[in-house]
Symmetry: C2
Subunit: 431 residues, 2 copies
């Protein structure tokens, strides 16, 4: 999205690009209005205060580009679409407007970025934030991921293959002993990580602390028996100011990662968890609520910003996001852009992507082909729904992962692995 006219301002300005629908003759004035209105003030008699102190905070119009019909997303009511969609009209165009915001306008919070670039503007009719370039000089105010891909691999001592994560399902209402049984069932199949359901808030029967203690002991026994290592990603929940002590406590008890509903809690809550030296385990972001921001084609914020660049800035080590392989709405192109935002060269460590929903063992070669080995194979349904149970479910995935990185076909691998054979029979392979 970087445009060639931007020049050095890309080093000193946040460049935000908006897709709008408007009358073509309004675009220039509207862009100027954004650049001035969201920086030095919309109703300011600017000529009277052209002191250098004010002008260096003024936004700049970087680009206005009217999309032709072929570029307008097909799922939009596209250019020239004869359907009246309320504020749309026959003589409107779709255009991308890029505005530069001086980084001196921001502090060290993501709230300051979001509020400036898509605060008031989010309420301005049909407008969507589709790109956001943050210069290093601003990114450096955030600590970013504490572990990132390499840090997570060092912790788990797994370097050459995707990680396997099993999703803990059916959490609420079950006691610690019941949950520990379920934990071990998944673990025995070879899962590297086992994560809580993100909707696990009730602490009536099993507090997070009790779960971490019990699962850590179960994992220790499993490792003593079989040599296999498994980590538990516990849902970090509770009032904001209690999260930090709780995160420290859960890490001390043996948690392998902290699952954070970062969209609902707010990016700056995640950023402070990431910056806190006492939070000594990776932060795994769940995408809950993110669809409320990215779901529409015409409003809100693109998924690669919501779950990509802003989560990396806020210090996520792992980002779970809706895979394009299932029935969900994120397209393959959107998913790849999101992963690109987690990995593109930056002052911050790379984030491990965990595409989720609709993942089954036969899909692993496609997943590795799309993302490489630095990803998490994250599954629930195709682990717990395996005909042989969750242990076989996880084992089938691990067999598929190992075959894929070894360059062995899944059919061949399945010959020596009944769990994988049963999984391929049940869920097949993508054509």
């Amino acid at each position: 999205m970087k445009n060639t006219n931007t020049g050095d301002r890309a080093l000193t300005h946040v460049i935000a690009t908006y897709r709008v629908r408007d009358k073509q003759e309004n675009l220039s004035k509207r862009a100027e209005g954004i650049a001035v209105g969201l920086t030095v003030g919309s109703w300011t008699d600017l000529p009277a205060m052209k002191q250098s102190a004010v002008l260096r905070h003024c936004g700049t119009v970087e680009d206005i580009r009217v999309l032709d019909t072929s570029e307008a997303p097909s799922s939009d009511a596209s250019v020239g679409d004869p359907v009246d969609r309320g504020h749309a009209a026959l003589d409107t165009v779709i255009a991308d407007i890029s505005i530069g915001y001086p980084i001196d306008n921001f502090n060290n919070t993501i709230t300051s970025i979001l509020t400036t670039v898509f605060g008031k503007l989010s309420m301005d009719g049909e407008i969507r934030l589709i790109a956001l370039q943050i210069p290093d000089a601003l990114a450096e105010r955030f600590s970013g991921p504490k572990f990132g891909v390499s840090g997570i691999r060092d912790r788990l001592k797994i370097y050459d293959r995707p990680l396997l994560m099993s999703i803990f399902k059916a959490c609420v209402g079950r006691d610690v002993s019941d949950l520990t049984k379920a934990f071990l069932e998944q673990a025995r199949g070879g899962a590297d990580l086992i994560k809580d359901d993100e909707i696990f808030f009730s602490e009536q029967y099993a507090t997070p602390e009790a779960r971490v203690a019990a699962f850590t002991e179960a994992a220790r026994q499993l490792q003593a028996e079989t040599g296999q290592r498994v980590s538990y990603a516990v849902n970090l929940t509770g009032p904001v100011r209690q999260l930090f002590d709780r995160a420290r406590r859960l890490a001390e008890l043996g948690a392998g990662a902290l699952l954070v509903n970062a969209v609902a809690y707010g990016y700056d809550v995640l950023a402070e968890l990431a910056a806190d030296p006492d939070v000594t385990v990776p932060l795994m972001v769940h995408p809950a609520v993110s669809g409320a921001l990215y779901g529409s084609d015409t409003h809100g914020i693109a998924a690669d910003i919501v779950l990509g660049s802003l989560m990396r800035l806020a210090g996520a080590d792992i980002v779970i996001y809706p895979s394009p392989y299932g029935t969900v709405t994120l397209s393959r192109a959107e998913g790849l852009r999101l992963v690109d935002a987690l990995r593109t060269p930056s002052v911050h460590k790379e984030v491990l992507p965990a595409p989720s929903a609709g993942i089954f063992p036969g899909l692993v070669p496609k997943l590795v082909s799309d993302l490489g080995v630095d990803c998490i194979v994250n599954a629930g349904g195709a682990i717990h729904g395996h005909p042989g149970g969750a242990t076989d479910g996880a084992a089938a995935f691990m067999a598929s992962i190992e075959a894929t990185v070894a360059g062995v076909s899944l059919e061949q691998a399945a010959n020596g692995n009944a769990a994988l054979k049963a999984a391929l029979k049940k869920w097949g392979q993508p054509s």
Copy 2:
């Protein structure tokens, strides 16, 4: 949105209503999938675990209602719309699905509510959260507004008229003395409250603490001279864990209210500010970023939830929201639903609504007719853009407010008030 079949579950369950587009024959299965999948687990072999402990956490399908064409919002691609919008299709209907979630599934965070009722579901294609009923037993876990309408009136000692708030514009890049001059210019016209621009994050020339100290002293002098009282709503910003100390400090220095970008910071950050006994001034919520959630007709979350019921639950004393009088996208009906959510009988205090954008003196009678006197007349453009300057701009509004509550026509009031006369000439009155 409460439906008559819900019965006692409205006392023990959060009832969420979703507007979806789907094939009619899928609706029942989809509703069941939500009720089970977002509570006790989507892939659970439920019959095997029908212990009472689990079942009491299971969600319930409360209602499925297919909308007929006349009910579908006109700005939607409505029922039978022949345009292919990606996941829409010819044989789909628009329907409202209501699901009950047992309150024992939640803790005392709004994150737990949002993540459960619109976490994963937000990513499930064309779906919008349009209603959210929260039973008292859950609402009581939140402290709600500390001041509310009556508390704010007691602080300001103004009981019988709308409050007048002037929006501090052109903040960034200006030093304390320059800002103090602008503060006094607005104050002298009679503003009860003067608020920062919500995008004021830079502290290079004027820290929030320095502004509060200077404006408090200026307000003290103004009161000594004229008897008039004015409060300053300062933008509360910075890293999350520093907000609480800063809020206390700003209150001690004399801040009249704290402006909070609550959507970007997260509802639970606001909730803890509200619950903190050391935060001794009202919390004023700015709607920045909220349009990214409510803007679309087909995705996201309705404005009366985003800025209404959830802000009240989180403890906002004042909610600024886009007025339906300007060029913005919130309709009059949506605005009234939002205000209703701030006022409807509840375990929490009433919140003061501050419709914003497009407010001019001639509009005050309409505003009071729509909202009553318990509201804030909030203006920027029509104060700073007054031909006589900001003092006359504020004075024109105050004259309009006083005339309106006295039952005097604005024309009549303008005869004795040059500032109002000039304002009516410039901005007119709605027909």
